[in-house]
């Protein structure tokens, strides 16, 4: 690393050649860190939403002792009328809501991050600095794609777990202080199970949305301005054109499937004759990873994502500062 600068240049061939693993993963690792330095909203936005969620939850805790008392002390008749699902719902709903808010925030952050990723460096001319370093365009594009596809899902999962644990501790503290006891809380809140479902869902969504992020990165590497319009308007144009020309909406359905298809493939709400399920609190039995992994939609999407990213790599090679 610290070659003496005034040493005579080593003859060609005798220079130390870095192992391939080192020369590819190290620049990737540092380039991902670089993205986090530049785009602090990647972690600040979900954390801020988590904090707001916890604050709201804290205020709602005023009612918690009463709710628990009703759940815990009611007789078997009452309990039956309320149903176990509703008990889950009453207790677990805030946990699910906070998690959804964090996920939604991360999605928005991911979209805007991707739209700016290969555009901002051309706009501020810093691409000339990045290109002066021995980092390939492939490494740079992969590091940028890894933010919405890997970093954000894992980060979101970690924030959800910590937030929900924190909420649980707050609840337990409030119940302890008000003398109600925490037994019902532990019994009725399937937190660990919820979190496994969240992790599964986050991975499934990341894979399913890969072509969306790939497309956004491609547009950000191509457009000279207004990346958002370039990303959205061509798709709208195709939808409208198809509707007017053929009075059909295949492309619109395709887009719709890309946004909600993971939900149909990765989980099922069918309980085979059992009681209906609240989609907020899926038991692990409702996850269908086999179906998800064998759905053509996933693999076609991943192929498109690869094509978009390959095009983005090529574009970055050609593109100059704006």
């Amino acid at each position: 690393m610290t070659t003496p600068s005034n040493a005579a240049p080593a003859p060609l061939g005798s220079q130390p050649i870095a192992p391939t693993a080192l020369s590819t993963t190290r620049p990737l690792y540092w380039s991902v860190r670089r993205e986090l330095w530049e785009n602090r909203s990647i972690y600040i936005a979900p954390l801020a939403v988590a904090a707001i969620g916890i604050l709201g939850f804290l205020i709602s805790l005023i009612h918690l002792p009463r709710t628990i008392r009703e759940l815990g002390t009611t007789g078997p008749v009452h309990q039956h009328s309320m149903g176990p699902m509703n008990q889950h719902a009453t207790l677990a709903m805030p946990y699910a809501h906070v998690a959804w808010l964090i996920v939604l925030t991360a999605f928005i952050v991911g979209v805007f991050y991707s739209l700016d990723a290969l555009y901002g460096e051309r706009r501020d001319r810093s691409i000339l600095f990045w290109k002066s370093l021995p980092v390939s365009d492939l490494t740079i594009v992969l590091s940028k794609a890894s933010i919405p596809l890997v970093v954000l899902p894992l980060l979101v999962f970690a924030i959800i777990v910590i937030t929900q644990l924190f909420m649980l501790l707050l609840s337990a503290a409030v119940l302890q202080i008000s003398g109600v006891g925490t037994a019902t809380l532990w019994a009725q809140l399937p937190l660990f199970q919820m979190q496994i479902v969240w992790l599964y869902g986050l991975i499934a969504v990341a894979l399913w949305y890969a072509p969306i992020y790939g497309w956004l990165l491609l547009v950000s590497g191509w457009a000279r301005r207004t990346t958002f319009l370039w990303a959205v308007l061509p798709l709208v144009a195709i939808v409208v054109l198809e509707k007017i020309a053929f009075n059909s909406s295949h492309f619109a359905n395709l887009l719709k499937y890309r946004f909600i298809g993971w939900f149909m493939q990765a989980i099922t709400l069918d309980t085979h004759g059992g009681p209906p399920i609240d989609p907020h609190f899926l038991p692990l039995t409702q996850l269908t990873p086999g179906k998800f992994l064998s759905s053509p939609g996933l693999w076609v999407g991943l192929v498109f994502a690869s094509i978009f990213l390959a095009a983005a790599v090529r574009l970055r090679r050609y593109r100059e500062p704006i």
Partner: protein, 291 residues
């Protein structure tokens, strides 16, 4: 060993030809100054050399094809394309971390040493630094890279004269060591005259002059002619004539020094004067000396 070898290098943007059949041969260990008017194709040629733009013709930089192997080439090449390309959001410490992380030939201690001579704080963001400090930071990063070829495109643009002087001193004393090659373009020609080992004029995408500084000094002579000798001097076919304070100054190419000494005061011209003589009136267009 050859640092840069180009044959009929050509680059056009639409119908505008920026680089028009450049033949270039830069040996390792020289400091080449590329001088040309705005729009002469200097930056385009350098961008081709750095793998930033595709081109026609043959080009090898340190034995590599820059367009196909930019990332590999950058292990051995460092460049400052423009003083204002450091991202404004980055902290000084982060810039050091990143370059140290991705560049196996970056000597962090050396960069810290350069920075210690400045007032730049590690925790500052680039946007908080003055223009001169940004340039200092960029050069500290670049000069700490153990590169075989350093390309500087207008490295001192917009910097004050003290800083420019210090920059070239530092380049010569702390960086250059005869095994490296430096290619520099600038409009502040007079400041690099003593720094260069080789000189090249480019105009309209073509090489107008290419020679070593020794050749330059022996070949071109400037005479402040005694008024009574003016006719005799003009008969020796000067390539340029100008008036300063009522005296005529004639610039000669390959005329015997003894012969000129009889006509007036002989001296080596400045690069700027030769540049004006050759580009200003197109006298020497296309007449680059073979090397």
């Amino acid at each position: 060993m050859t640092a840069i070898e180009a044959r009929s290098l050509r680059k056009a943007f639409g119908t505008t030809v920026a680089v028009d059949g450049l033949d270039l041969h830069v040996e390792e260990g020289c400091i080449l100054g590329i001088i040309g008017p705005n729009g002469a194709g200097k930056t385009t040629a350098l961008n081709a050399i750095l793998g930033l733009t595709p081109y026609q013709g043959e080009l090898k930089v340190l034995g590599r094809d820059p367009w196909a192997e930019r990332d590999q080439l950058m292990l051995d090449v460092a460049f400052v394309a423009d003083v204002a390309v450091l991202p404004r959001w980055i902290r000084v410490s982060q810039a050091l971390d990143y370059v140290a992380g991705v560049h196996p030939r970056f000597d962090r201690a050396k960069a810290e040493g350069f920075l210690a001579k400045t007032t730049i704080k590690r925790s500052s963001k680039v946007r908080e630094l003055s223009k001169g400090m940004v340039a200092q930071l960029h050069l500290a990063l670049v000069m700490a890279i153990d590169a075989r070829l350093l390309v500087l495109d207008e490295p001192t643009l917009g910097l004050d004269i003290l800083y420019r002087k210090q920059f070239y001193d530092s380049l010569l004393n702390d960086y250059f060591d005869r095994s490296r090659t430096i290619v520099v373009t600038t409009h502040q020609v007079e400041e690099i005259q003593d720094v260069l080992t080789d000189l090249m004029f480019i105009n309209r995408g073509r090489i107008v002059l290419s020679c070593s500084m020794e050749e330059f000094e022996s070949r071109y002579l400037e005479v402040m002619v005694h008024p009574e000798q003016l006719a005799a001097a003009r008969s020796l076919k000067p390539i340029h004539e100008r008036q300063v304070l009522g005296r005529s100054i004639l610039l000669f190419d390959r005329v015997d020094r003894q012969q000129l000494a009889a006509l007036g005061d002989v001296r080596t011209p400045s690069i700027a004067d030769l540049f004006v003589a050759m580009i200003g009136n197109h006298a020497g267009a296309g007449e680059g000396a073979p090397r």
